[in-house]
Amino acid sequence: MSKKVKQKENRRVTGRRTFLLGSGMLLATSFLSGRLYQLQVAQNNRYKRLSDRNQFDWRVVPPRRGRLVDRQERLLAGNAESYLLHITPLYAGDVDKSLAQLASLIELNDEVIGRVREQARKGPSFRPILIRESLTQRELSTLAVRSAYLPGVTFEKSLRRIYPQGALTGHVTGYVSPLTSREIEENSSLGDLPDLATGKIGIEYALEPELRGTPGGERVEVNARGRPIRVFRDFEPEPGGDVKLALDIGLQQHVTEILRRGQSEPVDMATAEVQRAIAGNRDLKLHLASGENMLLRDSIGNITPPESGAVVVMDIRNGEILSMVSSPTYDPNVFTDRLLTRDWRRLNEHPRNPLLNRVTAGLYAPGSTFKMVVALAALEAGIINERTSFSCKGSMELGNATFHCWLEDGHGTVNVVRALERSCDVFFYEVALKTGIQRIKAMANKLGLGDVTGIDIPGEKQGIIPHHEWKLATHGVVWTPGETVVASIGQGYVLVTPLQLAVMTARLASGTKAVTPSLQTVDGVPEFAELDISPAALRIVHKGMFEVTNGSLGTARAHNLPSRLGGMAGKTGTVQVKRITKEQREAGITKNIERPWKERDHALFVGYAPIKDPRYAVAVVVEHGGSGSSMAAPIAKAALKRALETEGKA
């Protein structure tokens, strides 16, 4: 073949193959177009949805929590603006590095860093982790300036619960704290609100549904680094309802002070002597560590912590709780942030359990304050009348046992009024034996003892009013008459809460209504159940309670209210916690104050005022306070006095 032909032949081959190549390219491009059609037209809806999900972050907006105010609208629990600091591991990349950077800019303790690390390791990387709450303005501006170098770190405004009255109302308000995993398990819709704080105890817990409100919703446009660009509010959150409490902060403050002070004087903490006392006493140190700021000097010169116990002041007509003090107490503000282990440990190491609400959950033997119950049961059953007398020689024999009266030499011959006035034990031993524990138990229940009062905070204790069936069921043996004797002076098995004592006193004073307590203000006069106790019997008991503060030998005659306030009636109670041992007696230790605190008697007082047309009932328990007449009665008097004096001014 010639060169020309050969050349032509090659050219034809190349031309043909180029055409093939071009066709292949066209085919491949058609294939790509088909793929594009599939993605962009056929599956458009699906990808549109995915794109929206990328673009928008659905967020539930927590509602503003309802406020708590006292009866004069003074704030007990409110909301303060606060800034939350979050980190999202997905965008942060190296969480450890980010945390180290943050720690150099703001205060971050190791505990927090450890927790965030742990959460970053366990949780999904796209979920923001809370680093800190309540950033200060200074910290906020420090971080804002450097935000470009802190990928995945975001801060946002939120509301933080505050308790302006702090420890003063700690046991009433309770507190809110971050959601627990248990709460989310029980109500999965809460999972959308990781930063929601819910009531854990107190009013905050009891009225949670009312206070919380309804969450709103918003769409936040976020870029791939998790930075919010724009916000669309779709549903406005509905704020929770405000709640007005019956509490009177002024009274609460006053009562707290007199209870804590007891019969002692506060000392100047700065003196060398007090500092020495603190240094040598672990107990005092633990009190001070958990925020205590007052120490007392008792009657024999020892430095002691403030008194512990409970006081309830209640409006007899409608059951409103004007004051509810449990000492020691705690500051609920420490719980609203993530509770630090340090704070938690201190609260737990406190020797007197400040987290216990003694008013509703503290169980105490009522002691002689129980004698009204026995008297009423006997009077109603017709076993005694006003003139029935017994002779007290300082003790009573029953079988082989001897039951002593608190007055060694005895009270002589006393009727029910005198027996209440002077708190004669033997009289009530005799009466109780004749009345029987079943009747006493029924009367106790009528007056509100031995059962929850239904007050609007959780954790209320039922207490114990023993009787035949109870003994058999719990101990498996029959009730003995000796146990009736012990129960008649409110000891032995009998256990009640201070709140129950206040309810009992309110019902006694009311005479007709089975008053129930309420922490919220009550409109008008509530329809309480009828008390159903004979007025004649009640009159006799009232007389006895009158004589306690007014009689020449009354156990609380030194602590009556002035007549301009209408006077008061009441009953003392002194509950033996531990017998004085033989060794102590031989060593000459017979006075309460000389014994170890834990072994001293509880001091109780219940009372109401004014005597005519009673308005307020009070119950006082001072743990290991010595005697009802010297320790509890003056506190009750001061509380009633302040309540009566404030009345009408409010």
């Binding site: 491009t29 037209v41 976020v222």
Partner: protein
């Protein structure tokens, strides 16, 4: 003087202006896309891109004035030079990644223009072969070596994507030069058999890419993230797109590398299927024009060069579009003239310049 003026005038007339026009439209589209990628700003990408486009077009014009025969003479030396550069690069880069060199502040990827060098060398080779040897297998062995050497050097950088594009584009020249079908069939079978061996030679990150391509959903937030997000962006664009500057995926930075490899996705999100097909149409026009020129030029050297340039262009486009639509693994392939990045654009303009030179200076084909 007068004769020279006439020559210049004739040259200007013969320059394939339509090719420059299409390239110009593509560069403009690229600049607009990059303007959107930076949330409506000429910095940092769009402005530079436009300037580079203008420089590239000027380069085409300069090449158009260079006699094509000079290119033929320089084909082998240029090929050798690029091989040397690749070797030196490997030596400097050591065990690490040696894809880039830095010249006066510009990062430059020599493996890209190497494609042109290999192309010219192959065209030169086939041009000089005796015409009756084209059916012999021996004729095709030296070109294989000429391809394999740069291929291995680029694989070693390591840049598998570019290496494969280089090999595939060059092998096309063997095909159009007349490699008999039986050898094509045999090599195809051999290639399939070699896949497991190649797999074992891959770097871990390359393996990850391939595995991710096979199952992108498995690792949504890792390597599969790019493909998943790219599909979401494209798919949510629909027929007409979300509108210029309105692509939420791109504007909110869900789409990675939207200014380089994933620019086609961004255009798809903002202009929909219509926008994407328009761009594919422009490329077909460009590639078709270059292929058309291969029929009009007289010398075998010019003919093969044009086909090679067309194939190179097509491979860029196909690999990129197939990649962003999830049909191929993420190999790091730019969309020519639209993606931000100087080297690929330079390579494409070099190719177009060579074509322009061929059109202007090569003798026309005689039928």
């Amino acid at each position: 003087m007068a004769a020279e003026n006439v020559t210049i005038f004739r040259t200007v007339l013969r320059i394939p202006w339509h090719i420059l026009l299409v390239a110009g439209v593509l560069v403009t589209v690229g600049a607009l896309a990059l303007y959107s990628a930076s949330e409506g700003s000429w910095t940092p990408w769009a402005g530079k891109h436009a300037v580079r486009g203008a420089v590239g077009a000027a380069m085409v014009l300069v090449l158009a004035f260079i006699d094509f025969r000079i290119l033929r003479i320089w084909a082998y030396p240029v090929y050798l030079l690029s091989i040397v550069v690749l070797i030196v690069l490997l030596g400097i880069g050591g065990g690490g990644v040696a894809r880039w060199i830095n010249i006066g502040g510009f990062t430059f990827q020599p493996s890209e223009p190497t494609k042109i060098a290999v192309l010219l060398a192959l065209a030169r080779y086939f041009d000089s072969q005796p015409l009756d040897k084209m059916r012999s297998i021996l004729t095709y062995l030296p070109p294989l070596v000429m391809i394999i050497v740069p291929f291995i050097l680029v694989v070693e950088q390591p840049d598998l994507g570019t290496a494969l594009a280089l090999a595939l584009g060059s092998l096309t020249l063997l095909f159009v030069a007349g490699l008999p079908w039986r050898y094509i069939l045999v090599s195809f079978i051999g290639l399939v058999a070699a896949v497991p061996v190649l797999w074992s030679q891959l770097h871990p990150y390359q393996k990850t890419r391939v595995m991710t391509f096979l199952d992108p959903e498995a690792d949504k937030l890792g390597a599969g993230y790019q493909i998943t997000q790219s599909k979401i962006a494209l798919g949510s664009g629909g027929l007409f797109g979300k509108g210029f500057l309105m692509g939420s995926q791109s504007q909110l930075n869900y789409l990675p590398e939207k200014q380089t490899d994933f620019v086609f996705t961004m255009i798809g999100e903002e202009f929909g299927l219509v926008g994407n097909l328009f761009i594919l149409g422009l490329y077909l026009l460009l590639i078709g024009s270059v292929l058309g020129i291969s029929y009009r030029v007289g010398s075998r050297f010019a003919q093969l060069t044009c086909i090679g340039v067309a194939m190179m262009l097509f491979l860029y486009v196909f690999v990129n579009v197939a990649m962003v639509t999830g049909l191929l693994p993420v190999v790091g392939a730019p969309l020519p003239l639209i993606s931000y990045g100087g080297t690929a654009m330079l390579t494409v303009f070099l190719g177009l310049g060579v074509v322009a030179s061929a059109v202007v200076h090569d003798r026309p084909a005689v039928e």
